[in-house]
């Protein structure tokens, strides 16, 4: 299979210019030299994958770019996409001691990107242990960051790992779900390709949907890693939400990233106030929508999006409508959508409509972004894998489920976090699997 089948779309690239553009070589060295090179650095501790941040930054300042990239990849095989997609403001850069030094934090994300871009430009491949040098066979179900990290780590230790992905392309939300101005689909696919070259086998377009299919895998593989992500986007459960013009945020993001949706115009209403809602609203603006509203049933202070995402959306020209809830979607005679909304007040934890505050928003698209359902259909039927609120219960140190042959990581096990959390989950699971396998060996 190929891991690189989407061509670069120049128009898309132009519209979605990098939110954090690459550093020039000299800017990178200047920034690297600003780093204090902390001992037991808080940035490293804050990173879920514990990248040796001062270590890779120091290497940039001396021009040891290969060493820098390998230092990153050693801890985080998706170091390239994490450099771009991580909410560094609440992770490494948020922990930087520079905040207490009356200074801006070191631009760790951009430096990491610099190191990774430089490495990728050399075309060098990563060395792994000889394939199959450990007779351990692992199937990673789902082709997102958790499985990629798990499979790559297993491969590095000489195990044989395959990735089974129901979509055409690997990468999961890295490929289909991250705003293009942060991470391009082509970036995600290049990373998957690097992992394929390490020796990981990819089976794409292959859904595992039945207990029989799983049992077959069980007979073929020693361990199974579940990196299946969350379920479908939640529905608003209001009349009219199935008509044309209404599409959920992940579907919308995947559409423009894969070239199926190239342009928008008119008015777009995004419902929800999480990071995905922000991504969708900003993308709608960049695709040409003149007016983009973000509608949230609670207030500004309750929104779950990161502060910097909120700031970014405002900068993109997104308008925010607080404490307003949609209750129906209709169409008018010209075929435009009419979104019926009402002001709501918080009474305790419940929301009460304010009488007489109904308002109709005439628009062209409605994009619900109110979260993914915590649902892993695949494993719901499996015995001995405990779910809690739809999330797979695992030992956080190892990712092991109640069924000792099954491990899980990423959104399906952590409830929905960031790429870097998925990578950390996958890496931990792989190490735990190798530990069990080595013990069995000995």
């Amino acid at each position: 299979m190929s891991t690189t089948s989407i061509p670069d779309d120049l128009l898309l690239r132009e519209r979605f210019t990098d939110i954090k553009p690459p550093l020039s070589p000299q800017a990178a060295v200047i920034e690297a030299n600003r780093c204090l090179n902390c001992f037991d650095a808080p940035c490293t501790a804050a990173c879920p994958t514990h990248i040796d941040v001062p270590g890779f930054i120091k290497r940039i300042s001396t021009g040891n770019l290969r060493g820098s990239a390998l230092r990153i990849l050693d801890a985080n095989i998706l170091g390239s996409s994490c450099a771009k997609a991580c909410p560094v403001e609440v992770l490494c850069e948020g922990a930087c001691v520079m905040h207490r030094y009356n200074s801006e934090p070191i631009q760790i994300g951009r430096l990491q990107r610099y190191a990774m871009d430089s490495f990728q430009a050399t075309g060098e491949e990563l060395l792994t242990a000889p394939r199959g040098s450990r007779n351990v066979q692992v199937a990673c179900i789902g082709g997102g960051p958790a499985s990629l990290a798990c499979a790559a780590e297993l491969c590095r230790h000489g195990a044989h790992a395959i990735i089974i992905e129901r979509n055409e392309l690997p990468g999961g939300l890295n490929t289909y779900g991250i705003a293009e101005y942060k991470l391009r689909t082509s970036d995600s696919l290049r990373e998957a390709e690097m992992i394929r070259r390490m020796g990981v086998e990819f089976r794409t377009g292959a859904a595992i949907e039945t207990a029989e299919a799983l049992e077959e895998l069980e007979s073929e593989f020693d361990f199974l890693f579940l990196g299946v992500g969350l379920g479908a986007m939640q529905r608003m459960n209001i009349p009219g939400e199935d008509q044309k013009g209404v599409l959920n945020a992940l579907e919308f993001i995947a559409s423009y990233k894969t070239g199926r949706l190239k342009e928008m115009s008119g008015t777009v209403v995004v419902v929800g106030a999480g990071n995905t809602a922000i991504d969708a609203a900003s993308a709608a603006r960049r695709l040409g929508a003149e007016t983009v509203y973000l509608l949230y049933r609670r207030g500004e202070r309750e929104m779950t999006a990161f502060d910097f995402e909120y700031e970014h959306a405002k900068h993109e020209g997104v308008q925010f409508l607080w404490r307003r809830q949609p209750y129906a979607i209709r169409t008018n005679e010209r075929g435009r959508l009419l979104l019926d909304t009402v002001q709501v007040n918080e009474v305790g934890r419940s929301l009460q409509p304010v009488e007489g505050s109904e308002n109709v928003i005439e628009c062209d698209y409605v994009i619900p972004a109110i979260g993914q359902s915590p649902f892993a259909q695949l494993v719901q039927d499996l015995r001995r894998i405990e779910l809690r609120n739809g999330i797979i219960v695992v030992d956080p140190e190892t990712g092991q489920t109640g069924n000792s042959r099954y491990f899980a990581g990423g959104d399906c096990a952590n409830g929905g976090r960031e790429v870097v959390d998925a990578v950390a989950d996958g890496k931990r699971a792989a190490r735990a699997i190798m530990k069990i396998a080595e013990a069995a060996y000995a």
Binding site: V29, I30, N33, L36, N37, C38, F39, D40, A41, P42, T44, A45, A46, C47, P48, H50, D52, S61, C86, P87, V90, L91, G94, V97, R100, Y101, E302, T304, F306, P396, E397, N414, G416, R417, E418, V420, D421, A424
Partner: protein, 465 residues
């Protein structure tokens, strides 16, 4: 208003301030020197005059430090490449317009009595206020028997100084090379030869670095390089040391124009505190232009005002008697490091420096019990790092998680667990931690009081025997 004028340096030379441009590229022509005077320089030493030479190109290269340019500058430029006539004609012209700014002519000619007599006569006739004998250029000219080839041999130094003094009517300064075993031997020789003053130091012999692509040291002159003269901020400590040696030795001490890495008024004050009457600057002016003198003069005045010094003489040499032999140090004086928790940013640099480069007494684990009289066991750096790198960290995605992450742990800006602490019973007071700490005044050394009466090595030795 403090008075920063220089009076009767080396017997005769007055100047509006002690900041002089050293002999070099910044004093190559009359046009430059007039601009320099306009910018505020108190005097100049004209680029060494002698039989004109042909220079190599390129002729400079430098050491950058973590992105800061020209921490050290190396040159292989020789003396003036312009004719003696041109130089002296311009010198005379500048003197007409700037009668109160001293122009010292740096001279270098063949080691012959007649040659020196002739150049001295011509230079003084042209109007020079003083002469600086370049016995110290460490590259090129020395291969022709001049420059440091003279200044590295006391007998030559004394003899040529004496030849010059036979003729000279203006003060004669001898410029000394640092590239000698004991600079006092040369200084004393110059003094015996009759020198009225000294200039120190010239540049330090150097190979500044090697290009890792071509494997040729810099500067690369068509595939080869050569030894150069090292200057700039990097050499200031070397210069201060040599200045102190000269000025503390009765047989060597003469009115001294100090130089070597001076790039601010602070540097200048240090040279004056070790006995210099004037200071010379080259690299800083090459780097940023003549304008650097503005802050030098103002800064010096403001410092003098703060300290209550009315003239340069009020503080000249005040630090000289604060330098002793190691054996003269009080070994009962003891300090220990103290970390100000309110200022600490949690970078851990003091901790790793203490463990790897000092005496293993700064720790991140806090002991609650008594800390005296017991050997404490602490986690070393590998354990500390291992703990962090195997800890479980996740992205705070909910507002509650973010609020929890933002909450400070403890009463200080930095979480208490990240503020190192000094084990005072083990601390040797070496001071390394205070040097590596990026925060001003965060780590200080406190004097331990119960250390007994002052006692140096010799006294301790005599008690023991």
């Amino acid at each position: 208003m403090p008075d920063i004028r220089v009076h009767k340096f080396a017997g005769k030379i007055d100047a509006p301030n002690p900041f002089w441009l050293a002999s070099g590229p910044t004093t190559n022509t009359g046009e430059q020197i007039m601009r320099a005077f306009d910018a505020g320089w108190g005097g100049v030493v004209w680029k060494t005059i002698g039989d004109p030479i042909k220079n190599a190109s390129p002729r400079y290269s430098s050491v950058d430090l973590n992105g800061t340019r020209m921490m050290g500058l190396n040159n292989i430029e020789l003396i003036s490449d312009r004719s003696i006539e041109d130089n002296l004609r311009e010198l005379g012209e500048v003197k007409k317009y700037y009668p109160y700014h001293p122009i010292i002519a740096s001279l270098m000619v063949e080691s012959k009595r007649e040659a020196w007599h002739e150049i001295v006569q011509r230079t003084e006739d042209a109007g020079a206020d003083g002469l600086e004998l370049n016995f110290s250029c460490p590259h090129g000219m020395n291969e022709r028997g001049m420059g440091s080839a003279v200044g590295q041999v006391p007998e030559y130094t004394e003899k040529i100084t004496a030849w010059v003094k036979e003729k000279a009517r203006t003060p004669v300064l001898v410029k000394l090379s640092p590239n000698v075993t004991d600079i006092r031997a040369i200084a004393a020789a110059a003094r015996r030869g009759g020198a009225d003053g000294l200039s120190a130091i010239n540049t330090v012999n150097s190979i500044i670095g090697i290009d890792l692509d071509t494997l040729v040291p810099r500067p690369n002159v068509d595939g080869a390089s050569t030894h150069g003269g090292y200057a700039g901020p990097a050499i200031k400590p070397i210069a201060l040391n040599l200045v102190q040696q000269i000025m503390s030795d009765p047989a060597s001490a003469l009115p001294l124009s100090g130089m070597g890495g001076i790039s601010s008024w602070r540097d200048a004050v240090e040279f004056i505190l070790l006995g210099c009457s004037t200071v010379q600057v080259c690299t800083a002016a090459m780097h940023y232009g003549y304008r650097v003198v503005e802050d030098m003069a103002e800064g010096l005045e403001n410092w003098m005002r703060t300290r209550g010094f009315a003239t340069l003489d009020d503080f000249r040499g005040l630090s000289l008697d604060r330098v002793t032999s190691w054996n003269g140090l009080n070994l009962n004086y003891k300090v220990v490091a103290h970390i100000d928790e309110q200022k600490c940013i949690g970078c851990g640099l003091c901790q790793i420096a203490c463990w790897d480069g000092a005496h293993q007494c700064i720790h991140s684990d806090r002991v609650t019990g008594p800390i005296n009289g017991r050997i404490e066991l602490h986690d070393g750096p590998p354990t500390v790092e291992f703990r962090s790198r195997t800890s479980f960290a996740t992205t705070p995605v909910t507002r509650q998680e973010r609020a929890a992450a933002a909450t400070s742990h403890g009463p200080f800006p930095t979480p208490l667990a990240k503020i190192p602490r000094v084990d005072e019973t083990e601390c040797t007071g070496c001071n390394l931690c205070a040097l590596v700490c990026p925060v001003d005044d965060c780590i200080t050394t406190l004097r331990v009081t119960e250390s007994g009466r002052p006692e140096n090595q010799d006294q301790q030795h005599s008690v023991a025997s």
